[in-house]
Every structure is written in C-alpha cells, then in structure tokens.
C-alpha cells in the first residue's frame, strides 16, 4: 500500500473535484505538454530518455514494454518447446551443437531427462504466465483501457509503472534460474509438492525451484497491482457518455480478466508461501509420511492435495485470464472487418460474466483422479460442462457476426478466424474430459496437451497476434508488412493443426504427457514416427515466427508510415487521437461518447464513430424505446 503515499502530490486530487471532473485531475499534465501534442508529434522533447522510455508512466509506453518483454519471452518459451520436441522427435540422434550451446544440459548432444523436464517446465511457466498473462493483458489492457474509454491515462500511472517493473524483476529472476548448476525448476508448471518441495526428489527443486517460486510470486504481485489499476480505471475513468453498456467488448474482456486475476492470484500466492515454508522451514503443510533417497522425513500431517486446490483455484481462472482478452480482441476485430456490428452484444457481455463466475467454481476438474469425493467430483462435472454454454454462445455470436457481412480479410481478421477455429476445435474436447468418467481415461495424456494447446495456447496466441497487427499503427504510427503477415498466419494455422490434431490420437492411446522417451513402452513406441513428424512441423512453425519477429521490429523503425488516423475505419475512441498521441492521448478536450461502438453499416453508413452525436431520427428511436408503452 505504500504506493498510495508515493503518488505525486497533485495526483490524489480533491475527491469532490474528481467526482465531477475525473479526467482533468487524473493525470498531471506537464506544463507545455499540450503544445507539443498539438503539433501531432506528442513527443516530450524536454523529457529525458529514462523517464520517457524506461521508467515511463505513460500507459502507451508501458503497454509497449509489456508487449516487447512478452515477445522476447514468447521467443524463449517457443524455443524451449522446439528443443524438447527435438528429444521427442529424434530420441536416438545426437546433435553435437546442443552440447556446444547448452553444455551440461546436453552432454552427448542429447538433453538429459532433468534438462528435458526443466525445458518442459519453463516452457509452460513462461508461456502461460509471462507471455499470455503479462504479455497479453499487460499490452492490451494498458493500451486500450485508457484509449478506448477516453481517459488520459490509467487511474494510477505510477502503480502501472510499478507493475511492469515488478514483472521485469520476476522475468530477471526466472531467467537467472536457467543458469543454476542444479538446473532450472523441473517439476512441471503446476509445481505439485512433494516433488517441488524436495530437492532429493528432483535436483531442480533446489535453488532452481526457489528462484522459480520467487519469480512467480513477483509475477503474481505485479499482476495484482495491474489488475487493481485496470478495474479502477474502467469503473472510474470512463469519459462522459461512455456507459458500461457502450464499452467495446475488448474492455469487457479485460475487465473480467482483471477481476479473475485479482481474486485468484492471492490464493495461489498463499499456496506458494506454504510451499516455501515447507521447503525451508521444515513445516508439513503439504508433506506427509515420505521416504525419499534412503531416509524417512520427519514431516507428518500435511496434504499435497491442499496445494492442488490452492493452485487450481488460480489455475482454472488463469486459463480464462489467458483467453478472455483474446475473445475481446476477436470480437472487436471481427466486427470492424465484417463492417457489421458484433452479433449479440448483450449475450457476449452476459457470457463474460457467466464465465467469470463459473471460472471460480470448476477448479477441481483438474483433480478428478486425486481420489476426491465422488459427490464433489459430480458438482465440478456439472459446473464444468455448464461453462461450455457461455463459450458456445460466444462462438455462435462470432459466426453470426460474419454472416452476411462484407468481410475484409485483413491480417488481423484472418488471425481472428484462426482464433475462432482453434477455439472451437480445442473447446469441444473440453466437453470430453470435463466428464469425469472420460477424464479417468484421458487425464494427463496427450489428449489434454492437444486440448489446452488448441483452446488456450494457440487460440490466445492467434488472438494476441490479431491484436498486435490491428493496433500496431496505433502503437507505433507505422504499418506492418501485409504479405509477411499473411505468410505468418497461414503457416501458423496450418502448422498448429498439424501439430495438435494428431495428438488427440496419441492421447486416446493413453500416451502419457511429460515423458522423455517412449521407446521402452510397447503401447506408445509405435507413435515414434508421428512424434518425429510433429517435431518437424513444430520447427517449421517456430522458424515462421522469426518472420513475425522481423516484421514487428523492422516495422517499428522502418515500416511504412501510417497517414490515416483511422486506418481500419473503426468506431472506437482510440482512433480519434492523433497518429502519435502524446502522454494524455487527446489534444484538448476528451471526446464525448453518444453511441455504442458497433454502429457499422447502420442506415447504410459504413461506420459511425462513438463520438458522433445521434441524429434526430436516432434520438426519436431512443426515446421511443425507453418510453413506457401506453397500456
């Protein structure tokens, strides 16, 4: 809470003043600032580099910081997956260059099992937490919440900056754990004790595990700070006329994401604290009757299942934290490119809230095989399958949005179509394993891998890409190369299906996940050929992402300059700012909002931005609708 007192003095403002005029006091505008904005550059010539780009409090800069950190982590996380796919695809080959690059991790040009499990664990942690949570929410919440709601900045720009830098510290700690002599943490991203608590059980659970715990702890703290900021901004800082029911769906998605994070991260933090105590203070929260490496431990009375409850109470909302921003982006981008309002706005918002509530009530479906009470299991089956209803509503609404549209198949739009496609493919298999009896068969097999990679991994990466391509002109004032974008999309989509579709079959054959080698297994060895195929496709897809990296970084500096302030002909407020908005976003007054964001093709007009007042005819309609009908 110390951040409250650290706020610049002017920022707290007079509470009474703020209520009437929140925007005017929310962000301290440096003197002379407006003049620069008016020139259309929005560059603080007088501001030193370090406060402008490094310790910036401008939400747009922070958004770029999150995005670039996220992209770097995505590259590392993706590389790790390619590396462990090398082992799975070519278990008998020795790649001597692996030894050159990774030293002890790959003594004979082949990763050791411990290094392999380290790579698997790091891939999961990095992708889920650093890329799809911090990278995704951090980027789009920071960019879009103030811009689409008509705010000069976040509620507390200082806390916003703090949340990025805490995340940065988490990144550094996580990265440093790769260089520990006993190896990085190798207990899976779920870090189930006792494996994660006992360094006798896995060397990675020593120093590597400690660093992992600390990094993840910092990450959660940063996301809680960020979430507090997002929610307050959305509730308090909307411009005049921007009622909740006029908010773009991106903002709804981000709001629900922030609520999920805010209420679930503290719970996993407690779980991690208990784990840390078990590791270092000899407590027995999770440890009970253990005999490991030749001696019996003194711990009695704990329950490893307690950790799983605390973890999955975060873990399940977490997958929605990953997918909801992508859903919001998809809705927005799809509507703009179809030149048609999003179908069923109210249904979409209701679905968001249904997901928000149900997401907290389904966590134990990850634990059907832990020997839970069958009646408890039945409760979770019921709610798990019910959560498919709001997801289905969303899919139908997206398809409904495309029906009879005039669909511009721009790069972001294609990514959204890919997103919907993989979301369907992965989502439907959720109905299989949500039914606990079927889960007995396919739990912890490749079926699960296929399911969650499609529904939440690939889908949200595609959604994130859609967002990056769509808002790149707003972020950097330049365009990305379209052709490279198309190539990136098609190879990624085709590759994703080639990788994950066959995995369903491996899963149905009972092939367990997180295996280093299947050669000794009569049942699973026949899939070696398929594994090699999947690994080759994975490498190709990974190399394709280098094209995206090139396109992204090249376009920041050398891309074609954007000349149109509203290149997608969109209705939302971010496109009413100058091409290079300064800190404070709008020159002069913040626009007022008169309508919802999806007036595309209404009355034959291609698009009507939110800040265009209603015509007299529209007013009459509104009055008619709201007037009580005479009996």
């Amino acid at each position: 809470m110390s951040n409250e007192t650290n706020l610049p003095a002017g920022e707290a403002g007079n509470p009474h003043q703020e209520i009437t005029q929140p925007q005017s006091v929310a962000v301290p505008m440096p003197a002379g600032h407006g003049a620069h904005v008016a020139e259309g550059h929005g560059i603080h010539h007088h501001e030193p580099f370090i406060t402008k780009y490094i310790f910036s409090q401008d939400h747009k800069i922070i958004s770029k910081q999150f995005l670039i950190t996220g992209i770097i982590w995505a590259f590392i996380g993706g590389l790790f997956s390619v590396l462990f796919r090398l082992q799975l695809g070519f278990p008998n080959d020795h790649f001597m260059w692996l030894h050159t690059v990774f030293g002890n991790w790959a003594p004979n040009g082949q990763f050791t099992p411990e290094a392999y499990y380290g790579l698997v664990t790091m891939h999961g942690t990095i992708m889920l937490f650093f890329v799809l949570t911090a990278g995704m929410s951090g980027t789009f919440a920071n960019l879009l919440i103030p811009l689409q709601l008509g705010a000069r900045d976040m509620a507390s720009p200082f806390m916003n900056m703090l949340s990025y830098w805490i995340f940065f510290i988490a990144s550094i700690i996580m990265f440093s754990s790769l260089f520990v002599s006993t190896g990085p943490f190798a207990g899976g991203w779920t870090a189930y004790p006792p494996l994660s608590a006992l360094k006798e059980a896995s060397p990675g659970s020593g120093t590597g595990g400690d660093l992992w715990l600390i990094a993840v702890f910092f990450f959660f703290v940063s996301q809680i700070f960020a979430g507090i900021n997002y929610i307050s901004t959305i509730l308090n800082m909307r411009t005049k006329g921007m009622s909740m029911s006029r908010m773009p769906l991106t903002i709804w998605g981000l709001l629900v994401t922030a609520i999920l994070g805010l209420l679930s991260f503290p719970v996993v933090i407690t779980g991690l604290v208990l784990l840390f105590f078990d590791k270092h203070l000899g407590t027995s929260f999770y440890l009970n009757s253990i005999y490991v490496s030749g001696h019996a431990l003194p711990n009695v009375g704990g329950s490893p299942i307690l950790y799983q409850h605390l973890f999955w109470f975060m873990g399940h909302p977490e997958v929605y934290i990953v997918i909801l921003p992508a859903m919001g982006i998809a809705s927005e981008v799809l509507s703009i490119n179809s030149r048609k309002p999003i179908f069923g706005y109210r249904g979409m918002v209701t679905a968001f809230f249904a997901i928000c509530i149900l997401a907290f009530l389904v966590w134990a479906h990850h634990m059907f095989v832990t020997g839970m009470n069958p009646y408890l299991g039945a409760f979770f089956v019921l709610l798990t399958l019910l959560i498919a209803v709001p997801s289905a509503i969303k899919v139908f609404n997206w398809i409904g949005t495309m029906w009879k549209g005039n669909i511009h198949l721009s790069v972001p739009c294609l990514f959204v179509i890919g997103f919907v496609s993989t979301f369907i493919s992965g989502g439907l298999t959720g109905i299989w394993m949500g039914n606990s009896a079927i889960d007995l068969d396919i739990h912890d097999t490749y079926f699960i891998i296929a399911h969650f990679h499609l529904v939440m991994g690939v889908a949200s990466i595609l959604g994130m890409c859609a967002g990056v391509y769509h808002w790149f002109p707003k972020m950097f004032g330049r365009k990305m190369n379209n052709t490279l974008g198309y190539i990136h999309f098609w190879i990624t989509l085709v590759g994703a299906y080639l990788i994950f579709w066959p995995m369903h079959y491996e899963g149905l054959a009972g092939m367990p996940r997180r295996y280093y080698d299947y050669a000794a297994w009569h049942t699973f060895a026949p899939f070696q050929g398929l594994n090699t195929f999947i690994s080759i496709v994975a490498i190709v897809v990974f190399i394709t992402q280098i094209l995206f990296l090139f396109n992204f970084f090249y376009s920041i500096f050398k891309g074609r300059k954007e000349t149109d302030p509203n290149p997608w002909k969109a209705n939302t407020l971010e496109w009413t700012t100058p091409i290079h908005p300064g800190h404070g976003n709008w020159v002069g007054e913040i626009p007022e909002v008169y309508r919802w964001p999806y007036d595309y093709g209404k009355n034959g007009i291609d698009f009507i931005p939110q800040n265009v007042p209603l015509t007299p005819e529209e007013e009459m309609e509104v009055i008619k609708e709201t007037q009580p009908q005479p009996a």
């Binding site: 179908f343 399958l385 498919a388 179509i417 496609s421 009896a437 068969d441």
Partner: protein, 356 residues
C-alpha cells in the same frame, strides 16, 4: 556439415520471403489501397475455402493413418462403459465441430469484401440467441446425466468378492502387495521402510497379518472377471497409476491412500490372440510427473485365470520370509537355494529380473 547447410538454406529462404514480401508491398502501393485490398481479400477467401476442404480431407487421412494405433477394445467392464461414453460424446462434438467450422470458413469465403457488397446491420436476434443457448445447455445436461451415472458406478464401493492389491509408487518403481491367504494386508509404517533389510514397503513384522503378504515389483497379477480393488500409496512424490487398457487412472498420493476398482475382462493370452501381437503386454504407466525417471516408471500387468493366479501366488515367497532370511543367515541359505542361488540382499533386483 549438413547442419550448417540446413541453417544456410533456412536463412536464405527467410531472406527470399522477406524480399518478396517487401516487393509485393511496393506493388500494392502502386495498385492503390482499394484494389490491392480487394485482391488480397479474394486470394485469402479462396485460401480459407482451400483450408476448409483440405482440412476435412486431412482429418479423414489422419484418422485412417492413426486409427490402427489406437488401443484395442477396453479390457475392463468399466473401460467398455467409458469407451461407450467417448463414442457418443465424440459424435455430438463432431457434429458441432463440423457445423461450426464449415460455417466459419464458408462465411469467410462467401462474404469476403467485394465492391458493391453491403453488410447487413444485424446487432442481435433474441429468439435465435435464446434458442441456441437452450439447445447447448440441454445437450450438455444430457451428457452430464449420462456421465455422472457412469462416474458414480465407477467410484462406488467395490463388490464384496473383489480381490485387494496394494499398489505403492516410489521413484521410479511400482510395488504390489497381495494379502495372501488371510486376505488381510498387514500394518505398515513409512518409518520402517528399509530396502536393504528387504522391507521396501515398511511392513511391521510384529503384525502377523504381514507374514503371508506377497510383494511383487513392477509386475501386477490380476484375475480375469474378478473385480480388483487397488489401494494406492506413494512413498515419496505424487505418482499416478495409469491403466490405458482398462481406461482407468488414479493418483498415488504420499500420506493419503486412494482406491480404485475395476473388473478385468480379457486375459493377456486372449488379448495376444485378439491383437495378433505375440509381444502384447498390458502396461501400467505413471501419469503424474514424478521426477527425472518419470518415463521409466513402467509396470506390466498379467491378467490370468484364477487357477493360474493361485499357482503363481503359491510359488511366491512372502516378503516376511525374505526379510527373515536376511536376519538369519541359516534360513538365508535355504532361500538362496530356493531362489536359484541369488543372494538374498539383492532380492528386490532379483524379483525385477524375474518379472522381466
């Protein structure tokens, strides 16, 4: 050398792609924004269609190629029921899958941007939305009802005549304990575990119920058509008893025993005939990451007739006898003789060898 060549080729391909993309960007500027957009929309619309058709063909090919590698018919009563559930859940989801995916890609193709096309202003349609929500909910409710019926059957109490086997996981080995003639598993305590003294499970020798308990390593013997109740334990970290052929799974949690029961219906010999694979063997896989040897935690299951099982059990020495042989060298000599000259201290290894 080939590595280097591959790298060079990849880099060259990337450079070529980048250069072509840059050039095409200039071309599109020359053509004008509108026209270039319409052209690329058209190309991508056809690509969407191609992806849909090739994708559907791909799904068929994938199925044809891989269906032979799926597991044979479920070898337990419960597994057959689960297979049945998988089939009707699969049919329902497949219908939804094909409908939605075809609509998605077809709409992308059919309504792509064309000069003169006007989008229809359609913000919502309440009856339609309520209908599809209700249908989805109804279908899911049906799945829930059938699913839970099976779930309660499977997790319900085991039949009275079920045989009991205790399964213990440790890094990285499975141990199975059979109650012997008295049908009672003796007391055990993790503090008594001492593999060097031939007490790998920590059995309490002061409990006479322990004296006839037989322990086997990495091989589980089951009786066909007789329900079996597994009492599952772990000594160190969480493991998981994965039984793909019986479609069953249960975690082994240290300190918190779990149970699982099922009825095997096909003996190993019958399965060899059915699959036509002379090397066929039921495998038990660890399904919960348990450390660097996770992938080696393999046990085999022999499903046999009651008679064969009794014969096997009669030929086994109880763990108590093995442990006592350790303590008393004179008995040990006789054990050695009986075991075929293997030293008693190595008996756990010996049994692994036997199992293989």
């Amino acid at each position: 050398m080939t590595d280097l060549l591959i790298v060079i080729t990849v880099v060259l391909i990337l450079i070529i792609i980048v250069q072509i993309s840059k050039a095409s960007e200039y071309v599109s500027i020359l053509k004008g924004k509108e026209k270039a957009e319409q052209q690329s929309d058209k190309v991508n619309a056809w690509l969407l269609m191609a992806f849909l058709i090739l994708g559907l063909i791909g799904i068929y090919i994938c199925h044809e190629l891989l269906k032979g590698k799926l597991l044979p018919v479920a070898a337990s009563v419960q597994g057959a029921a689960i297979d049945h559930m998988i089939i009707y859940t699969g049919i329902i989801t497949a219908v939804v899958f094909f409908l939605t995916e075809i609509m998605l890609f077809y709409f992308g193709f059919r309504y792509h941007n064309k000069p003169g096309r006007k989008a229809k202003y359609l913000p919502d349609n309440d009856p339609l939305e309520i209908t599809w929500t209700a249908i989805t909910a109804l279908v899911l409710l049906i799945l829930i009802v059938f699913g839970l019926k099976e779930w309660f059957k499977i997790t319900g109490p085991a039949p009275k005549n079920a045989m009991v086997v205790e399964v213990t996981g440790k890094q990285f080995e499975w141990m199975f304990r059979y109650p012997g003639k008295d049908d009672v598993l003796g007391r055990k305590d993790f503090k008594l575990i001492d593999p060097a003294k031939d007490n790998p499970l920590g059995q309490d020798w002061s409990d006479p119920a322990n004296h006839d308990d037989v322990v086997s390593h990495n091989v589980l013997h089951l009786v066909v058509d007789r329900p079996v109740r597994l009492l599952i334990n772990s000594q160190d970290v969480i493991h998981d008893v994965g039984l793909p052929y019986f479609r069953m799974k249960m975690d082994a949690v240290p300190g918190t025993p779990t149970t699982l029961w099922f009825t095997p219906t096909i003996t190993t010999a019958e399965m060899i005939k059915k699959t036509g694979d002379p090397d066929f063997v039921y495998e038990l896989a660890c399904d919960q990451l348990c450390g660097e040897g996770h992938f080696t935690m393999r046990a085999t299951i022999i499903v046999e007739t009651q008679q064969q099982f009794d014969q096997w059990e009669a030929g086994q020495k109880s763990q108590y006898q093995l442990a006592m042989a350790d303590l008393n060298p004179s008995i040990s000599d006789t054990t050695k003789a009986a075991d075929g000259g293997l030293p008693a201290a190595d008996s756990s290894k010996a049994k692994v060898a036997f199992a293989k």
